[in-house]
Subunit: 254 residues, 8 copies
């Protein structure tokens, strides 16, 4: 470990074996990656507070299992998104404790329990087809420790259904709106609350502006202010942001 090399240099300086000028010179050429004290040299977990995530799309089941093994060996929790049943079986074979959220296509394995929040993240979807993305977010939030409420299939075309969830809206600390098609639910919810709202466009829909472009644009152009948007189908990203926001409120209870 380079800490040792540095300690040796300082020790020799203290002993008078090297001059201050020469120590200065040595430090100057010291490659940054070997400085144990560099502010940048934190582990990602410390820096970002986010478990290692495996994005399975384009990876073979065996590869995912292998990466999972390394993460498990390091004592971390595993979160594998876009996981097919094949991926799940490959991971479970090696680690029977792995569990699978089929709707959200997420494989998880918890080794250490995350700090549970008091505040809730409310997950809303416009339609049933948006549920997979919402469940990806839900699993990610579970791993990160945020409590979750779900209000699925709350389409704009049935505003009265939205009204029924007024209570849940007011009890949540952060709201994630997951919507495809016209993406209008984000604007409608955004007009009703004064909470941080994360909008996730989904690739649900067809015809012009399909593949998620329409709800993405709708959400970016939302008449309601205070809406942060993540990429199409990016339930994971929305969850990480929601958890960070949720924990700000959480801290007050400490």
């Amino acid at each position: 470990m380079d800490r040792e090399r540095l300690k040796k240099l300082l020790t020799r300086l203290r002993r008078g074996d090297v001059t201050v000028a020469s120590a200065l010179e040595s430090l100057k050429h010291w490659p940054v990656e070997e400085l144990p004290f560099a502010a940048l040299d934190h582990h990602r977990s410390l820096r970002q507070g986010c478990p290692e995530v495996i994005f399975c799309e384009g990876k073979e089941a065996g590869q995912v299992a292998e990466i999972a093994a390394r993460i498990i060996a390091a004592g971390e929790n595993v979160l594998a998104t876009r996981a097919t049943p094949e991926v799940y079986h490959a991971v479970r074979e090696a680690f029977p404790a792995a569990s699978y959220n089929k709707a959200g296509r997420v494989v998880t394995l918890l080794q250490k329990k995350p700090a549970r929040t008091g505040g809730r993240v409310l997950l809303m979807t416009a339609g049933t087809s948006d549920i997979p993305v919402a469940e990806e977010a839900a699993e990610t939030l579970r791993l990160l420790g945020s409590r979750v409420s779900r209000t699925y299939d709350t389409g704009v075309a049935g505003l009265h259904r939205l009204a029924q969830h007024q209570g849940r809206l007011s009890r949540a600390r952060v709201i994630i709106v997951v919507a495809g098609m016209d993406g209008a639910l984000a604007s409608v919810v955004g007009g009703l609350v004064d909470k941080p709202l994360i909008a996730v466009p989904t690739s649900v829909g067809y015809g012009a502006g399909s593949g998620g472009i329409t709800p993405l644009l709708t959400m970016l152009n939302s008449c309601a202010a205070g809406v942060g948007v993540v990429n199409i189908d990016n339930g994971f990203g929305a969850a990480v942001l929601a958890d960070r926001i949720n924990r700000l409120g959480e801290k007050k209870r400490r």
Copy 2:
């Protein structure tokens, strides 16, 4: 006039000057444009029931005034859209009866009164910036004879305002929703009514998907069925369609 030529042929046939075979042969080579009885040969006004419209964008004030003069000479009503004040002044100088809707940028001159409808077309806008497009539609509807109600600035971000207009929604026969930004109003209204709804995206908005692309896509992808969309900022087109629909209901009173 070609009717004369045809009459002559038939007269000669009747007189026995030409044989049936030869008359048949003559008719065969008769160019279609000269057939007075061709079903296609209707005047546009008869065929489409729509006054001549002058699209002023890219035309000089003088040119518009000249076209207007010809329409007036033909005894038709004048409708000039996208008209600047300069255009209005040029037209008014020649025809003091011309009037100007400044918000909608429309110059009109009525020579013959259109048949007034009993049913109403409800014009809704999401924001104040959408009003010019709505007023273009309003003026067109006025010229065509459809009665109009207005409900402006009914944004989705303030759903309670929408609720206040439930009465007007139920009293209208056709609804035109004019919206820029996220265009979500069309979906929201479409989810509340079972009437023909025409959606007009406007170029109001900025950033990604601006210039009307966002509301256009939102409206095409609306979760609510029964929504017909016209081109961006095309208040005139929406009005023509709305008037045609409105008149279907109208006829029942005859």
Copy 3:
């Protein structure tokens, strides 16, 4: 049921158990979703007059059958669009009365007869490849009760064919033009009639602007006014709008 709670409050008020001021206060905090009298709280069927539709794309045959079962249990008619033969077989197994429009890929099951219209919706397609979308519209119209005429394969490249259908054009109350490729049929028909015209771009075509973008843009930019456009391949949406328009004319006979 909350109606009971409200009744109780009113009863206590009548009895003098609570004051008017206190009743007012109670009502103020009454969550809107619990108000049995809220104008927004109508069933979708009442509000929109449209049977429940199942969009099958991306759903498994079993899922569709399950949803269909719930709709049937509720006494409603079933309309499943984008249905593969597999979906049909799954539904038919449970409900032998289900029928399948193979061209339009639509499964239907009528439990209650819709009110038949006198007026007709004319369905026109530019080519044979546009027929599936037109048939989706036809089945939807059948379920909604609108009478339908069909004029398929009336391409612009053969204008004489169009002329042959002049009669049908004049007998229809609403016209739906379904066209891919260059989408020009909508403009041509729109220039011949003064009726509400709904244009459906289809994803038929290839090369630049394929996937339906070309006919969508052509239809939005149509030189003929009075054309309402729905999304690419959205036969269902066009039918819902056409039926609503058709019924306006219908009412006159009552």
Copy 4:
């Protein structure tokens, strides 16, 4: 006021002038907009905790001044974005207390002091050209009451400059990254912190993907999780979201 009508109904019920059944019936038909106790019927300020904002683009100076006058009369704070110097002068003429942030093109007038937060929102820009958007956010945050730190011109091409601001990064509660060109700063900062990060693409740049499309896409595709994106140049929207997040942390001190 409808409260009066309701009070009258309740009074008559109490007096026994109407039966409970008849009162229930009356309430059922009571239009929702007239119910003073409807949960939806909150003022926007209560619902969204956000001052009225005037988006000046496309409005004349006089119009802005007029809208400002109405807001002031209602006792609210004024925030006018995209304000030219002309707009400022028009507002200041009527309200000398108005102030102008020239860089951010924002006119403000505070009548009532917002609750100041303890936590800070850190505003970072990639280049000097991104400053106007950042200043729009800064002024909005000031009006909303959030404390602000600024770290401008921290481009990725000079990573060492970023490193110098490690301290500020760790002291902020929420970070707003404003960047045009390649938008890479959001990814870099997102990789260094575990805080809520709001990314604002700006229309700074030229050539392919200019007008803000490049940084928008970069931010949506950021390798770093936990990034919420707002529309191009939308400093106002980022600020509203940041303030809401910031206040979650704030509450813990109450």
Copy 5:
């Protein structure tokens, strides 16, 4: 046949059974589709001089065979483009005389010999991957009767190869350039000749602007004037245009 009805009318007129005025009136209401003499009522083959073409993409082999059978029954030549081997086998089973151009994916069956031209259409491709599109054009030209020269794989990156074909360039009457990737061959050839040049972009290529968009744009923006462009991969369309041009030169020998 309607000719009969018309004949009857004329006969009755000649006999004096109807007046001229009444005959005129009858003709006026005669539906255009029933007029045997309407100039528009030519067969497509006469009007456009182009055999019936079957676009096989999206059609089943059986369907193609069926359509082919009808065309054959009508005594016309068959041209089926985008034909898979399966399609060929289905057609050949019924009509052993059918032949298949595997590279161009075209099935043909000649029943009547087209008029052969003296002039030649030169088919050039930039690379070997562009050959299928060129062969689709070659087969179409063969059916239409135009003589064809081929110069394949003449990429711009090897200009010297182009120079070798100077002779062929000068001997051709019309040139079709088929190119994917950067599409630059059209500009280079267009700069060397003063003949009609038809450019066909192909979907060969990958990365940004793939799917044929890059060569399409390059060809439309060609520095060389006198280049007409057809849609991506549209070898058939290029051939029809080339044959029409070729025949103009042909006529001089009559």
Copy 6:
């Protein structure tokens, strides 16, 4: 001049001053640009048969006049497209013989008479706004020597007008269709004739797909085969191609 150097080499060879081998060697290293006999070394006028054209957009009036002067000095005809009145005045000041087509924004000056064709190019426009592009083509054709017929404002929305021009259609050798908006005229005309048809999309129109994208796509996707497309507003390019095609037919009279 290098011809001299070559002559000298050949003379020395003839004289026996150099051997054949050495002459061969010299020629081998002779740079291609210095070979007076290289087949590529033709003047553009010879190679392409097209007068020098000045594209005025982005050039100052003085610059255009200067370039025109050089072309005139070389004895060539001048064709300056996209010319403002200022450009015309600058050219006319130096060359009073210059003339200006205001509608087409083209300045011309003929020094030598082009060979006049017998055949005609028919120029059709869909609307009056397409006339400038058509006139640019008309002026180019005049300079190249092709005879021109004009049929302006023949929109698809008024098919009967098109029918009136059946005669002109059949008398033309090449047809240029100039259309903005929906560009459908190209498909309609293409379905009526068997002649080479060049389609020019114009930037006339607004809303989605404006700037000429809609008619460009419509024309590329035309249901009618035999249509060659040039770039948006490129009247000049269409004319060069039309003249080349026209001359093929012309030659037969020689």
Copy 7:
């Protein structure tokens, strides 16, 4: 061979059988492709210093093997990109010396050793999913003779990892950055070095701007100057450019 014809002409000239003028005239009409001394008539290998490459996408295994056989017969090295295992097996069957880089999907067969460079090309990837494109570049560089260093999975979200490679950055002569997702690595590296940097966007990523569009735009808009971009996933092209640059530095040692 035409050299013979030329030799004969020169011999006859020397003998006095032809005059200088006549020889000049003969040479003038000599087609350029027949001139053995034309500067353009070099083999591609001489002109471009690049082995023949086979782009396997869309080619069958047998076709690739056949092309490879011809290249091998010509004594050249084989480089086949986008090669599936099937392609490899087909080539290896005929040429057992062929080797396969599975990650990079490249088949190679070296017959003659390329000149090895002293300088190194550093290949960096942002993530593990970018490795295939980097390996395509690596294999190409190996065949061309350039030495390669690899630094894979150096994402921006972990800047400290980048810092660890400072040494490698300073030892490389050319750097190739391969990145998908947000493409930010190119900007970050470009801000640290003063060396030629080639950026390769990859199609890794999902959602808006996927398929490589986002990193392509990011790289083109990079804040860091001195970055040259190649097409999405074009590892081969980046390698050819890198080798050419690398060899410039190489020459100094000669």
Copy 8:
């Protein structure tokens, strides 16, 4: 200066005033920006070898002059791109030594002479309208010290002109091709040479794919390998890359 603080710490350590452990601890918390020996802490000039450049677009003349003054005070050379004459005058007023390249819109002021290269960068443009971008590159290269050759207006439509420059092509070390319209020149030149080639698309052109998109795509899809592309109109970026490449060859003479 922090070097002092570090020196003090080391001195105290040497003196025994602090222990090794405590020194280690101190260093750990030492903010990275204060470490004089951090590898990242180089000045941009050292790191990137590129003078400070001022991008003038969107900056006022006064602002540019102010920034220039600071750069001059630091002893650096000034390079201001996209400079209007007003900018030039503002700079020259303060620094009469400033010079202006009007065509390239670049203001320069050299205080210290750059090391001149022996090798040349060849600048080629397709047309005269591409010259401003080429001149921006030329001025940048002059400031960086690279020698420049120019070959302007070498369009593809006149290949013989290109052939004339074969000599210059072979004498250059790096080639920059600047082209708008179809961008084909890059492919043509790329097919003739085996040198590093940098392609700069320009926004010259009109119609579909204008604004530089067409040449950008053409260059990215170039059939010729070894082409690196920079953003549209980015002459500066091309020059920085070309200079870096040029200097690699340069070093060999040291």
